[in-house]
Symmetry: D2
Subunit: 468 residues, 4 copies
């Protein structure tokens, strides 16, 4: 990303913006003004799409700066509003409405027009993905561009309001176009082939997606569910178990719904609540299909645990503390199992073990590490915060939704990926339906995390051992 377009590009931009991002009609004629011809919006879209990546940042900067609100008009109307404070209600209301109208950025009007042409909504979703990348990479970070982003986000929130979304159950009979995207977007537990894919939508499985009328054939957020007897503690049994591929579902074996993967597909819809609503809708759907179903839980990955742990160990090593995290006996066991060079600092050995995942090959080491990694993981999930909320994004998502941090599972994902990311550990966030509202409010407002005794027990073990 580069935010300074060439001079020539620059003048073309100016010229275009002058044409397409016109001032709002006057307050009086706002309902009497015809929209611009569609060709204007299409021209804008084509111009933008034709820009090199590095020119887009410059263009969006300019759009945000030159086509926002008319600050002078706003301050004039603010002053007028203050003047009317002693007047009658009707006068005040009108002054407020004029002020509100004047606070509409020109680019908001432009985006509204764009949303009306075929493909316009998808265009804006993608444009916002660019904006977010620009903000993330600091290619441009003016307050204007942040305003632009927040205006666009709020427009998208209206258009992707949950009332306008359609819940679709994806089956083996769904269009290939959709299933291929499901397959491609599934980042949590990658889908490798037809059989894999068929399993995800086969018996004892459900796959749901929200779609939207303005982006046909495009699943916006996808939720994979396994229907099981008990709350699952292992992901391989879900994504690699094909015994039941042609089975008829036995309703008596279905007591639990396990949300084992949820993926958003549109970068540009970041911050627009979709996943949360999808889980709620799916719970309702499942309850109507299985009236007696009583257990709803995720089986979730813990991305970042390994890196966090390695960072922690590095730091300890630097600070020469190391010993705090494990009890003396634990250190001894680890060293014995590793047969490590006596000169090597223990924390270093451990860091290497975690980094390489080699410990999984030794039964002895696994046994020695299990209590250590479990309590560290519990702490990572429960105790590590960012601005007061859970640092781990998956934890943060489910806690916001009102779930309880319910069970941390050892050897839950023994794939290389699972070992590398989280030492093979996974966690269930459980949805107790009559508690989710309260949990959600408590978490968002007081940052309180609902957790089970197992989790709290592990956390307290961690706290006893470490002096963190």
């Amino acid at each position: 990303w580069r935010s300074a377009p060439t001079r020539r590009a620059s003048s073309a931009m100016e010229e275009l913006l002058a044409r397409v991002a016109v001032p709002l009609p006057s307050y009086e004629t706002r309902d009497k003004s015809p929209p611009p011809p569609e060709s204007t919006s299409l021209e804008f879209m084509n111009f933008y799409r034709g820009l090199e990546k590095e020119d887009k940042a410059g263009f969006l900067s300019r759009l945000s700066q030159d086509c926002g609100v008319d600050h002078r008009a706003v301050s004039d109307l603010a002053a007028k509003l203050l003047d009317t404070q002693r007047r009658d209600q009707a006068t005040i209301l009108q002054a407020e409405d004029r002020l509100r109208y004047s606070l509409t950025p020109r680019y908001k009007q432009l985006f509204s027009h764009v949303s009306r042409v075929p493909g316009g909504v998808k265009f804006l979703v993608d444009l916002r993905a660019d904006l977010l990348e620009i903000l993330a990479t600091k290619a441009s970070d003016s307050p204007h561009i942040r305003d632009l982003n927040s205006t666009l986000k709020s427009l998208l929130s209206e258009w992707f309001s949950v009332g306008l979304l359609r819940l679709e159950r994806i089956t083996w009979g769904s269009p290939c176009e959709i299933l291929q995207k499901i397959s491609q977007y599934e980042a949590v537990h990658p889908i490798r082939n037809w059989t894999d894919l068929k399993r995800r939508v086969g018996p004892y499985r459900r796959c749901f997606a929200f779609t939207h009328g303005a982006m046909p054939g495009e699943p916006l957020v996808v939720l994979h569910v396994a229907l099981t007897e008990d709350i699952a503690d292992n992901i391989q049994s879900i994504v690699r178990e094909f015994a039941t591929l042609d089975a008829e579902e036995d309703i008596n074996k279905i007591n639990s719904a396990i949300f084992y993967s949820i993926s958003s597909t549109q970068a540009g819809l970041q911050g627009v609540e979709l996943g949360n609503y999808l889980i709620k809708r799916v719970v309702r759907e499942l309850q109507s299909e299985f009236p007696h179903m009583a257990q709803f839980s995720s089986l979730s990955p813990i991305p970042g645990f390994s890196s966090w742990l390695q960072g922690l160990l590095s730091q300890y090593r630097k600070e020469g503390r190391g010993s705090d995290l494990l009890s003396e006996q634990e250190w001894a066991e680890v060293e014995q199992a590793v047969g490590s060079n006596p000169g090597t600092p223990a924390a270093d050995s451990l860091r290497k073990l975690v980094a390489t995942g080699e410990w999984t090959r030794s039964e002895k080491l696994s046994l020695a590490l299990e209590p250590v990694l479990m309590r560290l993981c519990a702490w990572y999930l429960y105790g590590e915060k960012r601005r007061g909320f859970a640092l781990n994004p998956v934890a943060n998502f489910h806690l916001q939704n009102g779930a309880t941090m319910w069970r941390i599972n050892w050897r839950a994902d023994t794939s290389p990926r699972g070992v590398a990311n989280s030492c093979g550990i996974m966690v269930n966030y459980r949805y107790f339906l009559n508690e989710t509202s309260r949990n959600s409010a408590l978490y968002l407002q007081s940052k309180a995390v609902a957790a089970s005794e197992q989790v709290l027990g592990l956390v307290s073990q961690f706290q006893k051992n470490s002096k963190l």
Copy 2:
């Protein structure tokens, strides 16, 4: 409609509103606040639906008054904004954003939540229909209720943005649920039975509707099109001609698309542009089906012409002028044909003829009246204005869309209804595709009406005769 609810109802309302129309989160926490549980929105919807019609006005009054913006907060932030005018841009932008946020009425937030529950959007469309009726019947006319209406209209405009609408072609194979509604909503040329209905969706006909994901099975606006050789000048040949019911379309006989009926079905979407966009989409659709099609035109009714004419004649009679509208010879012909009592004022006879439609039974009278009624009608359509725009609502609609007032047709609707409403006259508004943008802008901005020579000729005849 009655706007003063009983005391008991009143306290229940207060109690409910306090619970469901809560204040907005503080500016700082606006992205961190969980939405209320769905049950809150459902409670609001059920409460409102349970109200007697006369209590609804009172309830909406209260909602608009008690759950708008916090005027003090707004004026404080307006004052702050004025204080920041000399500060840096970031500070100004933030002050503006805070002010903008403070201008969001509480009921807007409530409506957003309602839109998220199943059936919520349809509920709000119906609520707006109530609001419009209240405003129309002056049951309540506070500035607050007008603000409520305009807030809701702008929300609906976002949700029913044309990018979110789906164009559906309605055929005999469409769900009965839809076709029954098409049949029921068709107000322009009522559909009487299965055969009538089948004709409207049969060969040489097209029927299109916009539908919306949030209101499945509900056509929002419906356009009926006839495919003809020449631009049709008679409606009976379209709606009552069944010879071709089982014919195969002969593409060589299809040169023109005649929009002979367009109906909006949702009172609550008044002011949300749908019909205009539907015509544009349909034109595009037809062009892709019939690449060589070159003539697009409406064949439109002229509701109000008879009443206007009768009003005019009454007034002339009162003012004793009468004679201005017709030439002496014309008066003579009418009198002769009527064989009217010499004592009866001529204007009176004419008014009665128009009111009863009896003139249609006499060939002589018809011949005598044709030039008179044609030029009067041309004037009615072209010259009669309301706030500068065409008084006739159908004319106003097509002129806004950029159509040209193209041809006024004698004996175009010989049904009793057609004779009663507009002396059997209908009009073609023609869409010259490369002129509609310009025409639309000219009409909306300068109130200029695009009209053909035929129309202008009739208008000038009228002007010569009358001293209007």
Copy 3:
């Protein structure tokens, strides 16, 4: 219908048949012969369609006579077969196969080709309807035409084999094309308007049809079901009760499925079992939707009862017996209620009452006639036979399917039509699922009618009273 075509038509027919109904390929080349071009079949279809009704009979006669089997070839091969009887199995089998092949009529081959072109199957269904009409009206009754009919029937039986039929549930969301046909074909309880129709496919109702790939959009046989608490004894409560039109179904109120109307739509499929299979499929469908549903029953009309009864009374009157049908007291009550002219024979009065339906207006008469008409009706259904099977066609249909004649219901159809056809009486044929197979076999093989105690009781009352 007229079976002798004009000479000119006649020679055109001959010429056509010679061209399209060609001899079968020799036995040796039967798998190596290309089918004729489609145009041949289309020519045949167009020729036939173009014939006047009266020429069709002649044409079909000729087709049946001139394009059947080659009798000489058949008898030669029969002789050969007899010669091979002492030879080895392979030789016998081949002789049989050649004989079998020689017994294929040329028109069978023609029909096979016709079935392969678009619309061909429907054409043959309609052609068979013509054949049946010809046979019924004796327009032509040669053994050849009966053979033609039976060949065509057996072909249609293969093509409309139940494995090739599709069960479709018809709802308010089904294509209008289908629902209009449902409406039009419903002969049992005519559908009068949209609301009527909506009711038939609304809550507490099910409407199922078999469709076939070769006749898209055409329901072949339609079954209407009401879901009720108890087995219904009145049809108006089903077809005219609209209270529940927008209700949600309460599953706890659904214990019984009442088949209240079944209609075949294709005259040409007479004798091809469809209704029977449809009932079975629907039972299975309902059981899977309502696993606890335990009562399946028809509520059926009794067409022909009134006419039968009037015939009986006329005959009695002629024979001067009259008195046998009613007890003396019953005659007295009738006479008293009628206040009939003492001179009028009682049987005559009764016949008139039945013919006019006037008795329904007098409570007294109704009471007097109830026991009489009920036992007469029971006898009509149970005792009146044709070739050993139930004379009443509806009874015969359900008894063949294995149903039990379960309950005769007074005042069950109080519509004018119901009173005129069957004195307002209707009957439930009940399907006890684990008895239907046995019942069906018993009825078809030994002509035994399964009936409930109520029915048998009424029959025995009848027998006691009358000396029939």
Copy 4:
């Protein structure tokens, strides 16, 4: 396959067949007999499915032998028919009909019942696949089993009559269930991944299949079509060219439809004409989409050419002839290019070259071999026969359909598979629509092959060179 089941299995079979393959009803009661309960058919299906592969042959043998026709009854009725020859027509017709009825094997009746239960038709298709395998492997080859096969084939021909098939266009939006099968069944040019598959149904491609109501979701025969400017002479440009994957089709570049792959999916439908009809339907479909399309042609593989050629060379070598196939100069060029050991016989070198495909790596060799292989291939296609028809099955298929052997293409399939099977050569069978009927009849009746000048030229070159 083994045809002698164990004793225990054997008695279970006998017992089952006695129960399910019951004698036909008597001629008189044939229309009055209820079908057996569905459970009987299901029992038969389950029994058969449960058999080991080796027991199936024994079971089918027994079925064919014990449940055929009653030979004595047949010969009695044949004798009776001979007795009636001098009687009236009605008597003869009836005797014929009785004889015909007696020639119906019991297993035919059984199959009819099976076809009526869900899944029954698919079961019979699979059963016939078993039968064909048994016949092919000579596991059992009694005349009875051949009769069984031909009876089943003729039943399947009725059920899969083209009028009952549905043409479906397969697109990227078709159900995954279908597309996966398309992918899996595509034997001609294997599909390797999503992109490959997407290409086959993307722009400038069409993929059509016949499906059948009794086997939902199962494409029966699949035709892949490429839409091109000129008649394609290379398959890689069709199946590996992805440049146009997201292109919009330019109708001006579409002059030809190339059928580049056709696959039947159901072994059990062998001999039931489907592919032929599919091509005809697709031609009609394409003509209606592209009215001006004038060129229809296959681009077909030549399976068996390499093996045939190697066989020929082996034989020549044995017979010491070798030199006949190539001119002296050609032999010299080959030897020079190969640099072959002077001792090695030339035919041997050539055979090795063909077997290994190594010649493709040398430009020189390729040039030398081109004329040789082209004329040999032309001969293989045009001149090599089996029972008078083309030996090559693909050629036989298209010639039966009435295509012309139009162009043999060098370097048309350069994949390893293409080189191994047919030295990289492919052939276009062209469909001249107004000649196909005549060509088909000529080929089937007189075995005449329609071929272009190019093909005939190559053939005559071959004949000049070889003394074959």
